[in-house]
């Protein structure tokens, strides 16, 4: 029935085993459960490797804006990495680079140790604005990437059905995207990305515009899908609690220039809830580091030296 064996629930003894994270110390919520992570912890065979990438944009007044400055980051296969940072620090830029939609000014993006030079269906980005195609029906949207890949019609149809069922949207296959709610559109984007069966899923503030209930629901669904499909996920958000709720690891990006300021490993047991005390405690620690960056971002945006929100 299932079109791809890789999609079978695969709990095969990896880090997603709940037993792994059940560290009693953190459960009590007494001590902060996030621990600063040193680069030395990283493995030698990363799925995605950002090797000293910098990117500067040309601004309208002819100057150059250094959006990303010498970013080094390794993402392990099957890892759920969250990236947080204030608005305008270069989070979207970073994902666009990994997706191959943009080239770094210096440094390189490596995927399985091979340099990335163009978009490829081994990495699919879910845009902040989703980027669903309004001229296509929901099913056709999900089918799009497979069509571009040249899969047979029968296989495409089978996979469309499979992934729509996965995100609970089967009965909306023939609707147009404007007929769906925000949360449903988000799930269409997810199904469309998953259907091309990428190794790496890149998500850009996917749940920022949703109401709390829908967001909680989608957190659960995303965590389930991640566990079932074994994909590597790089998830960008400006919401620290969301990052702790979902991530194995959280990377904090600073504002202008965008550098990796610090990395945190999240050792809380899954499934987690946004309201968990332990999640809040972890978030507090990251927020303290983040606050300075947010101030910088606000001052830049409003030109006000006195902002201390």
């Amino acid at each position: 029935m299932t079109p791809n064996p890789a999609l079978q629930p695969s709990f095969t003894g990896d880090h997603r085993n709940p037993a792994r994270a059940s560290n009693a110390r953190w459960k009590a919520g007494a001590a902060p459960s996030v621990v600063s992570l040193r680069q030395a912890d990283s493995d030698a065979n990363p799925k995605v490797h950002l090797d000293g990438i910098s990117l500067s944009y040309k601004t309208n007044d002819g100057k150059r804006l250094l959006a990303l400055d010498n970013i080094d980051l390794k993402v392990q296969p099957g890892e759920f990495l969250c990236i947080v940072g204030p608005s305008g620090c270069g989070k979207s830029t970073l994902l666009h680079l990994i997706a191959g939609l943009n080239q770094p000014t210096s440094g390189s993006v490596l995927m399985d140790n091979k340099p990335v030079t163009a978009p490829g269906t081994d990495r699919i980005l879910i845009f902040q604005e989703l980027g669903l195609f309004p001229w296509l029906k929901v099913g056709e949207n999900v089918e799009f990437g497979m069509k571009m890949k040249g899969l047979s019609k029968a296989e495409r149809r089978e996979r469309v059905d499979y992934y729509l069922r996965l995100v609970h949207l089967s009965q909306f296959k023939d609707s147009y995207t404007h007929q769906l709610s925000g949360g449903m559109r988000q799930r269409v984007a997810l199904a469309r990305a998953l259907a091309t069966e990428p190794d790496v899923l890149l998500m850009d503030e996917p749940f920022a515009a949703l109401d709390a209930q829908t967001r909680d629901l989608l957190h659960d669904e995303l965590e389930r899908l991640w566990a079932e499909t074994g994909r590597t996920i790089i998830f960008v958000t400006h919401n620290v609690r969301e990052a702790i709720r979902l991530g194995d690891r959280v990377a904090l990006i600073s504002f202008r220039p965008g550098k990796i300021k610090r990395e945190y490993r999240v050792d809380l047991p899954r499934p987690r809830q946004l309201e968990d005390v332990s999640v809040a405690l972890c978030a507090r620690e990251i927020l303290d580091d983040l606050r300075g960056e947010i101030d910088k971002s606000l001052r830049e945006q409003y030109g006000d030296k006195e902002v201390h929100a």
Partner: protein, 253 residues
């Protein structure tokens, strides 16, 4: 249905006034034809197939010329929109060229192609090419950038990207231009056929003049209006409505 009834009443009254004026015999019928005379001319024209042939010839020229200018216009428009230098220079030139009535190209066309079918096609293409090009250029610029990024992200490149993403994504922005292009092409064709006699509806019109047959002249004019109306209503309105339904746009007006 009510809308249809209102239309029916309106046209019935219009024809009634016309018939009344005709019946009063203020002017001789060779100056002011009656509805009956025009009706007979229409009937006769379709009976002896001369109208069918004229319509077929004109439509064939339209389809050829218009498709040519749509394809050319899309390539040109995309090219112009994708290059800043071209946009500044060509963009301005295109707009200024648009003020030239396309029939002005006929002398040039005759010199280049002689009194051939090509000359007529040239005039039709020149009539609509500019509006299609300008529409495409505008559409490409108005089209949200996210669509092309999403397309590339999902593995679309080159021709596939154009056909499956850029074209449908810009369609709502170019449809009006395509429609305008059709209207310009239609006018250019009829003017061309009137001057450059070789079958077609324009020639039928001139034949009416040569024969002093006012009924024929009016009948052909009605045909030209009807065809323009049918194409607009059937083809472009349908396309517009289907776009609005798909994209979830509010219907215009």
């Amino acid at each position: 249905m009510r809308k249809f009834a209102r239309h029916a009443v309106f046209y019935a009254v219009l024809i009634g006034i016309w018939a009344l004026l005709g019946a009063l015999k203020i002017w001789p019928t060779y100056v002011f034809p009656t509805p009956k005379g025009v009706g007979e001319a229409l009937y006769a024209g379709f009976q002896d197939h001369s109208f069918w042939i004229a319509i077929a010839v004109s439509m064939k020229r339209m389809l050829l010329g218009y498709s040519l200018s749509v394809v050319l216009g899309m390539v040109l428009g995309l090219g112009v929109a994708s290059n800043k230098f071209l946009e500044e220079t060509m963009g301005g030139l295109l707009v200024s060229l648009q003020s030239l009535p396309s029939i002005c190209w006929l002398p040039l066309a005759v010199l280049w192609f002689g009194l051939t079918e090509k000359a007529i096609l040239f005039v039709v293409v020149m009539g609509s090419l500019l509006s299609v090009t300008i529409a495409m250029e505008d559409g490409r610029k108005q089209m949200p950038k996210i669509h092309s990024m999403a397309g590339r992200n999902l593995g679309a490149t080159g021709l596939k990207l154009f056909w499956y993403v850029l074209l449908p994504a810009s369609l709502p922005f170019i449809l009006n231009g395509l429609k305008q292009g059709w209207a310009f092409a239609w006018r250019s064709l009829i003017s061309g056929e009137m001057i450059f006699v070789s079958l077609g509806l324009g020639q039928q019109l001139m034949m009416g003049r040569d024969l002093n047959d006012m009924n024929l002249v009016i009948a052909v004019m009605l045909l030209i209006i009807a065809i323009g109306y049918i194409v607009d209503g059937l083809v472009f309105r349908t396309a517009e409505r289907s776009l609005q339904r798909r994209w979830g746009l509010e219907p215009a007006s």
